[in-house]
């Protein structure tokens, strides 16, 4: 009882947060089940037979995830998990809807991946009881991430799909280790920068109006630049390469607050991008397609053009779930799933989805700001930046704001590796959030 007397505020606060999380999760469940029913009604004319099973499965998964966050991360942020759950649920509905249109059967696999991802979420919360233990395993995590990143290059287990060598094939299963490697890299960067931030911050030289750190402080950024270029050269994955470098520059800026690194990062990025453009034909075709998809409408520009048509057809209110023709867009269930939403739920619906992503990123940075240790701060900021940059890059590609780079839309795209990694990301953010909310200043 004496312990309770000291921290009476904390448990009540944690309970209130957990209850808001539960309320939001129930609402998210209602929305996804409703969306599924609507898809069934529109495509087959009847409420789909698997509705009860689907609703029950999602309810069980949501309940399990909620209990885990209530028990294992008491006082953590109440909004992140429901956001993830809603986006995941709607993504699953859309994958099912595309099954109807394309006569495929990908929804069952994606459902199994969802179960696995929730298990990973719970395990992450259960194993990582304090995010600072990750700090102690920085080199193991870092080397592991590097190994995961380069694993698809190994002959035998690595597979090349659509020109990018980022897949592992084991038996019938395929997996993108790069998705998990990104998390490992963020953990490693956070740990490294938390220790070295003072060293990297000190500015000794003056360059025009800027105070510049000594030359050897630029070593790390050059090393990561080399790594991201090698991903681009050997795996031909623009998206992953961009993300790796982007995360590091962003985290370096968060750690040191030195604009010099951002400018240098941009310069290095431009140099790398220009070199890639001159050397690789696939990069050239991506750029020219981006600049003018209509001149190559029937070949390279077909995908982006169809995506734009789909969103235009959707208009403000959308043509209705299950009533569009999203199957015309190639790769609609992975990279272009947002275009399918654009057609069927329109500007209003996609704006709501964007608000969800926006809230997620906002909460992530709030967690970073509230964290009481450097490592937690950098970890939360890095994970959030990874998430946000990925959303920005793929939505920019789908809407022709940016050249298309193949990354998945977190939680929504078809693909198990990405789903799994993103749930682990949420678990880590909740862990950092919980540690900064338990009785301020105690222990």
């Amino acid at each position: 009882m004496s312990a309770v007397a000291v921290t009476t505020k904390a448990p009540a606060d944690a309970r209130r947060k957990a209850n808001s999380e539960l309320a939001l999760l129930i609402l998210a469940l209602l929305i996804t089940v409703g969306a599924y029913a609507l898809v069934g009604l529109a495509t087959t004319g009847v409420v789909p037979g698997g509705l009860a099973a689907y609703g029950g499965a999602m309810a069980a998964l949501g309940a399990a995830a909620h209990l885990a966050s209530r028990r294992l991360a008491s006082g953590a942020d109440p909004v992140l998990l429901p956001l993830a759950f809603l986006l995941n649920g709607l993504g699953l509905v859309m994958v099912r809807r595309l099954d109807f249109a394309e006569q495929t059967s990908q929804a069952p696999a994606q459902t199994i991946w969802t179960v696995v991802a929730i298990v990973v979420f719970i395990l992450t919360l259960a194993v990582v009881r304090d995010h600072r233990i990750l700090d102690n395993y920085r080199y193991i995590v870092g080397i592991g991430a590097l190994a995961f990143l380069l694993m698809p290059l190994l002959p035998g287990i690595g597979k090349e799909v659509n020109g990018a060598r980022i897949w592992l094939g084991l038996g019938g299963l395929s997996f993108q280790p790069g998705e998990v490697a990104k998390l490992g890299l963020v953990i490693f960067f956070a740990s490294y920068l938390a220790e070295k931030r003072a060293l990297l911050t000190v500015a000794t030289n003056r360059l025009g109006p800027l105070m510049v750190p000594p030359a050897r402080a630029f070593g790390p950024i050059l090393a990561v630049w080399g790594l991201s270029l090698s991903v681009l050269v050997f795996q031909k994955d623009l998206g992953l390469s961009l993300l790796v470098f982007g995360i590091f520059v962003a985290m370096l800026y968060v750690a040191t607050a030195r604009l010099t690194y951002v400018l240098l990062g941009l310069a290095l990025f431009s140099a790398g991008a220009y070199a890639a453009w001159t050397v690789f034909s696939h990069v050239q075709s991506r750029i020219s397609t981006w600049l003018d998809p209509w001149s190559v409408y029937d070949s390279a520009g077909y995908q982006v053009a169809q995506s734009l048509f789909a969103m235009g057809t959707g208009g403000i209110f959308g043509v209705g779930l299950g009533q569009g023709r999203p199957d015309i867009i190639p790769e609609v269930n992975t990279d272009f799933i947002f275009a399918a939403f654009g057609e069927e739920i329109g500007l209003l619906g996609t704006t709501a989805l964007l608000l969800c992503f926006f809230l997620f990123v906002g909460r992530g940075f709030t967690i970073a700001m509230r964290s009481r240790d450097d490592f937690g701060q950098l970890l939360a900021a890095g994970l959030t930046f990874l998430f946000g940059l990925q959303v920005f890059v793929i939505l920019g590609g789908v809407t022709q704001l940016l050249p298309l780079t193949g990354v998945t839309l977190p939680f929504m795209s078809y693909g198990g590796s990405s789903l799994l990694a993103n749930y682990a990301l949420v678990a880590l953010l909740l862990r950092v959030s919980a540690s900064s909310s338990d009785g301020r200043g105690s222990t």
Partner: protein, 155 residues
Amino acid sequence: MPPIVLLAGQALFLLLLYLFVARAVRVVVRDVRSSAATAAPVPRSPAPKARKGRKGQTAAPGELVVHIPDGRPRVIPLDAHDVTFGRAGASTVVLDDPYVSDHHARVYLTDGQWQVADLGSTNGTFCNQVKVSSPTALTPGDQLGIGKTVVQVRR
């Protein structure tokens, strides 16, 4: 299926979607407000000084005097708000000192008692020359050491 049903379903779906967003935003706003109430960065209005101090039997600290090397001493009233020290711009007292961490130390009120806690700083926080390893209660006359800065605790 009559189109009107699908249309109604679509409208309901969009409505629910926005209801979710609105509820999520409300939770966020409540969270931001409540944390702003407990940890306001800067005491804007000079609140009644040390209300708790006058009521309590034992002398409770009423203000902090911050002696920044080569700077004028600064008086910070202790009034329910947390006082944070650090190099980060969000700190109540921003110390431009290479020996101070971004989020260095925090002085806060729990159960009517002012305490000082180190926020995992690199060089530590000292209370009467002793390194603060766990939250330590403050009494008037104590001296805190944060980097090169000395902070006096007064009534």
